[in-house]
Assembly symmetry: C2
Homo-oligomer: 278 residues x 2
């Protein structure tokens, strides 16, 4: 079986309207199977993450992982944080949710606030939205000039290249849903008083621009799915598949680092002797 | 059954040498029972935390929780983060590990770096070590004058009172182990190459000062276990009891907030009508 990351990686032009949101690439089985598997994957993730964390603490690695989540409203970024990022030791995870930029942030280059949140060695960073917003809502809502938007694609690729050259690994996940999926999920939020807090009337204004947003995503997937930082298209119509797929790809990413336990930087036998007398 | 927080709260003078680290107050059963219960408690914590988080997002509460972990080396602060903080949605938890203060931090009041990490409304903050280090290692190693150390107890009580008056709740946990527990755990770290990274030769220098440290903790427990922010003594010789007890107390703390789901700040029926046409 191919690595799931390879199976979901996008390359070249893409037409999102032709891709089903309810497919389950490389997964044999249904919802119950996926839910049963998740805790097992969680234990593997815990172990692999501890190895990364240990090396970070010991100063024996420059490796770090940045998982980046993008997708339309209700595509499940929050659910992924809860069910996938929640599988690993919270000490080793840094989650950043990027909201609309502040006045200060708008006065700087769009990557300024991003660079500040890049994870240090040994850590897993998770971005809930990211610098891609600046070529998504930025493009659709014309928040910057056409030239500036154009400039950003290369700036993003350069920034990500620098991160990778410095020992980073990017896991970029686009959570793909259909307009019908979104309608169903927004309806759920409006039907359930325990979900009102997740609903924002502005979501419908964005929904009206579904076509332009899909087009903006297609441009991102074409121009910013690079060899050093490919995009992965995760069908997210089925939440259980989305969780399984992202947890699996995170495990593949961590395993690929191929780290060893850091050697002691002290004399083990001498320490044992001293401890024995105490 | 009494609330576990009341059962473990300390009040007045205390002699730590008379308190067993392997007792399991209010727990009926053994290791397997506790490990079986933990995921159930986790689900309750998830639900209660979501309620707090939802209110934070909606701006309908000033409530926030700060869980504070203190204890000798190997008492299990890291394990608690992994197994208890790891039970809830990582989006709603802010973990801060306080190391030796930096040069900049040493030039400010000892509470300066602490205030910066206090959780905002809707969030659970977790402190791995805290301002108490400034009257623990600070006292034992004479890192400040006797007058300054003396001043700090009241300053801490005032600071915590302000936090509580502003809608905060403190859950202060002292993880109590015996010198034998520590010897066993340090030995495990020296016997297992996958644990070398957790070992620091300086740990034995601290171990030599076991008595003075216990005395410094006794002063903390006597002077800073207040009505608004009591200390809880958690016997931590058995890791499974420690995890169960802290998860249980966190659940009690969250349940006590008695929050309701935030009301909609939009016209639900109007939104449904608009969505139906899209």
């Amino acid at each position: 079986m191919t690595d799931l990351r390879s199976a979901l990686a996008t390359k070249g032009p893409i037409d999102l309207s032709t891709i089903g949101s309810d497919s389950t690439p490389q997964f044999e089985g249904g919802k119950k199977d996926a839910q049963r598997l998740l805790p097992q994957i969680g234990r593997q993730l815990m172990d692999l993450q501890e190895l990364l964390f240990a090396n970070g603490r010991s100063g024996t690695t420059d490796r770090k992982v940045l998982m980046l989540l993008q997708g339309m409203d209700t595509s499940g970024k929050g659910g992924t944080l809860r069910h996938v990022a929640g599988l690993v030791d919270p000490q080793g995870v840094l989650i950043t949710a990027f909201k609309a930029p502040t006045e200060e942030e708008r006065q700087k280059d769009f990557l300024w606030r991003i660079e500040k949140e890049v994870p240090p060695p040994g850590m897993i960073g998770v971005f809930d939205r990211s610098h891609y917003e600046d070529v998504l809502i930025g493009r659709v809502r014309e928040l910057a000039s056409a030239e500036e938007i154009e400039r950003r694609y290369d700036a993003i690729n350069d920034f990500e290249k620098r991160f990778v050259d410095g020992g980073g690994v990017l896991l970029k996940c686009f959570l793909h849903i259909s307009p019908e999926d979104q309608k169903e999920r927004l309806t759920e939020r409006l039907d359930d008083p325990t979900k009102y807090w997740k609903y924002n009337p502005g979501d419908l204004d964005e929904r009206e621009l579904w076509g332009p947003y899909q087009q903006a995503y297609e441009i991102v997937l074409e121009r910013c799915s690079t060899d050093h930082a490919p995009w992965h298209l995760v069908p997210a119509g089925r939440k259980w598949y989305r969780n399984w797929a992202i947890a699996t790809m995170l495990g593949e990413t961590l395993a690929d680092l191929d780290l060893q336990w850091p050697p002691p930087d002290f004399d083990v036998e001498a320490q044992k002797r001293r401890l024995a007398t105490m």
